[in-house]
Symmetry: C2
């Protein structure tokens, strides 16, 4: 049974996921480019099948596998942190509400739409409820029995979540192609959408509230997209943990008090308040349909972003310099959850990177006309720099040994002895402070300016990331309010880039907040 690594269950589950996803991609592409032979009903039937299979597996896991004696011997303390599980529940609730709205909407048009359109939200709501419950309780499990079935089930669930995500992104993109005031000409797919929509509106609603519910459920799409990403990340970690024998590393309880630091949180709060204020003003101004107001709103939004990103870059850079100066050792052991953490962080940041680079190229191509475009360009470039520096800061921070108080004292008592000891035992070798030639408090005071600055930086960055998370999460889309993107690329391309990149960007900001919190504790 020492057959570790790539065994048959591992391979089979990988192939299941691969095939489900690729088939899904082909069907989605078909339903986008050819609305006659591959309708959205085909896609929905495929999804319903996937969703039912995943739900059945999860129920089986909950009711049977997880109850067997010695099924779950270990729990991965890093997996499924509170912020991720809370986010999952919140977004899950929004997804269920979206499904209810969808059901009401399609019930109203039952006489002209396929019944599959009602069936899907029903099945999806059940899936979301079951999945949220199972992941909330079992996210930390390292399953030891029935490994092959569990692996396949988890991969099936992962594929289902990714497929739901893909469909939501596609639908959101297609929906947004109707949004612009000035429609791009000569755009075939665009006209198709319009035709489809025109045909659909001939269908009479049974309860006269279809329009309301349609609008409402489109607003809830972003939450469903986030939900799928969260669930995918958690399922993937569970899959990685199947059969894992944990080296029971005692997680240090680190204390944290906000009052250790002051400048960082205060500055961060100012940014947060300013961000929220400009966000509200922006949303009000943009909805007014007055081009001058719109431009003013955009300028304000860009200036706010530039200031925030500049401050964040410089503080993260300062943090990196502090890391270089501070010769604390790096964590050397391999930790799958940590490497996944870093991978997710960098992977999620790609979304924001993509949007920024597309913006930069678009603005440069259109010749940087006017203040708005200049600010847009500056904002995109600074964001790229900020993402690089912040990623470096977080990767470095996550790989450092947590600070141990006693190190300061013992290092002066007997430098050689400490160095020869292995790092785990260091904390138990406390030398009484009064034997030291220099007062301990003075030493700690001298050492801790670096730590205090690091904590200040983390707290500041944390609040800034919250700001940059709230603004897009609650629906600000300057990428569509500014016409330079749709003008340079075709509208569909631009919508695809923004709609794929944005959820990842939002996920990145949330993940950064969690990572910054961890770095702050360990600093």
């Amino acid at each position: 049974p020492v057959e570790k690594g790539r065994n048959w269950g591992w391979l089979l589950s990988g192939f299941i996921s691969l095939n489900a996803l690729l088939l899904g991609i082909a069907i989605v592409s078909g339903s986008v480019f050819n609305k006659v032979q591959i309708t959205s009903s085909h896609l929905l039937i495929f999804l319903i099948l996937l969703v039912i299979l995943s739900t059945v597996w999860m129920l089986y896991y909950k009711v049977h596998t997880s109850r067997v004696y010695r099924a779950v011997l270990y729990k991965d303390s890093h997996a499924g942190p509170v912020w991720l599980r809370t986010g999952l529940v919140l977004f899950g609730i929004c997804s269920v509400i979206m499904d209810i709205f969808k059901i009401i909407f399609y019930v109203g048009r039952m006489n002209c739409e396929s019944p599959v359109k009602i069936a899907f939200p029903v099945v999806q709501a059940v899936f979301v409820i079951v999945q949220t419950y199972v992941l909330w309780i079992h996210a930390k499990d390292c399953v030891q029995i029935k490994q092959n079935i569990t692996r396949c089930g988890l991969m099936l669930t992962l594929s289902t979540n990714l497929m739901v995500w893909m469909m939501a992104v596609t639908e959101e993109s297609l929906h947004q192609t109707v949004a612009p005031v000035k429609p791009p000409t000569n755009n075939n797919s665009y006209n198709d959408t319009l035709d489809g929509r025109a045909a659909a509106s001939e269908c009479e609603c049974l309860h006269n509230m279809c329009d309301l519910f349609e609008k409402a459920y489109y607003y809830l799409y972003p939450f469903n997209i986030e939900y799928s990403l969260f669930a995918s990340a958690m399922t993937y970690v569970m899959w990685k943990n199947v059969g894992r024998k944990m080296d029971d590393h005692h997680s240090h309880k680190l204390h944290f008090s906000l009052w250790d630091v002051l400048v960082g949180p205060l500055a961060g709060l100012i940014v947060l308040v300013a961000g929220l204020a400009t966000f509200v003003v922006y949303e009000v101004d943009v909805s007014k349909d007055d081009p001058k107001k719109k431009e003013e709103a955009l300028i304000m939004h860009y200036i706010m972003n530039i200031v925030a990103v500049l401050l964040m870059s410089s503080s993260a850079l300062a943090g990196c310099i502090l890391f270089r100066m501070d010769k604390r050792e790096q964590v050397s052991g391999k930790n799958p959850t940590r490497s996944l953490d870093v991978g997710l962080l960098v992977g999620a940041s790609l979304g924001q990177f993509l949007i920024c680079y597309f913006t930069i190229v678009a603005v440069l191509a259109s010749g940087v006309q006017g203040h708005t475009n200049g600010l847009n360009l500056a904002c995109a470039m600074l964001t790229v720099i900020e993402l690089c520096i912040q990623n470096a800061f977080l990767i470095k921070g996550l790989h450092r040994e947590p600070f141990k108080e006693t190190e300061v004292a013992t290092v002066f008592a007997n430098v050689m002895a400490v160095k020869e000891r292995d790092p785990e035992r260091r904390s138990s070798s406390i030398v009484p402070a009064h034997t030291l030639p220099i007062p301990l408090t003075l030493l700690q005071g001298r050492m801790s300016w670096k730590r205090r600055v690091l904590k200040e930086i983390c707290a500041f960055l944390l609040l800034c990331n919250v700001t940059l998370w709230i603004i897009p999460a609650f629906g600000a889309r300057p990428q569509f309010d500014n016409t330079v993107g749709p003008d340079v690329y075709e509208f569909q391309t631009w919508a695809a880039v923004v709609n794929i990149g944005m959820p990842f960007g939002i996920f990145y900001r949330m993940h950064s907040v969690a990572s910054l919190f961890e770095v702050c504790l360990a600093a």
Copy 2:
């Protein structure tokens, strides 16, 4: 200096590559969707910059870094195998010829095209020559000095190769949009391409041989695409090996004689000859513009493929079953080159998977009319199954301990003693055969039927993969000769899928051949 893993140079090089690639994607997208504001000249200038920087770094590495005392202490014996380096040289030569043709073509139209169009092939030819030379000599290096600069340089080279690949794929796709006899209507970008082409043909050629050279260099594109993929893979391995301290594991010299096996190679040769014959007939028939002949050619091609793939699936499945029966231990130690090998194998197979699934969905959507479509569907489905089984077979095979002759003898002499010994020392602990109660030759004969069958299977699969590699590599594109794909998806989407998937598919078959050879030796 024990700061291993994610140090600053590692981070910096990653960010350089990330930024170069994302900027490149944005520019390529811009030049495809907007031919007015972002012309191909902009893209070429960006590429020239990248190519020059990479070339300069490689020259610096060759002339300076690699000559420093103790710069390269270790060589990774797994990196840059002969088949990869030979392929690199062959495709490199074709790429240089392509560049020369391009130069002649654009010199002929100097008075109406931008000079950048001549500059790029010149610079690219130099780059290809320098890179092929450097990679041929230094592919196995584990660089120990100037690690940060080397990492950044390698990542820059990697990004350059990927960008060149991306541009070649895009150009190939745009070129093929002119190919179909029945052009898709209402296709905006397509008309743009035609307009651009019409405008270009008004430009008079200075030496009257432009058409010839244009045709010639379009035929050489696939080789350039392959070259970029090969170079990317090798640069990535070099980057991974920077600063690596090798545990000098003595690579066992394994003998191989083709005459150990007979049935496998013979059957494989039959498939190879049949494949080549149908390929020649297919190419002749398809070029005839007679729809009936074309359909016959397609039917023949599909039948040939179905037979080959069926045989391959069943033999690979037999191999998997043999692996399950044979309880030989798996290699447990982590080996970066091997995991990269497996990653590349599965990653490259995604290309073929994608094409198959798009075909399946297209044929099903069009209602499976006629023999041709039925065969197409069967062929695509069987290929998916074959890819899964072959991948499983190769992954399992690459992770097995190589067979050691002496194991058989000692296992019977003293089972417990062998188990307690560490596996490295096993081969030195030869127990004289005459002390055994059972004659050694009889034991070996009994053991080796499994080994012989495995070798037969590997040899057969190897020749089949060569067959399936030759057919697309030399230009058979049934995906475009059969109209079902372009009919269901828009032509551009279909061309993009095939043109991105196909080079990966070809690479996959080559990589499979190399992996099968390795498995055959270790069996």
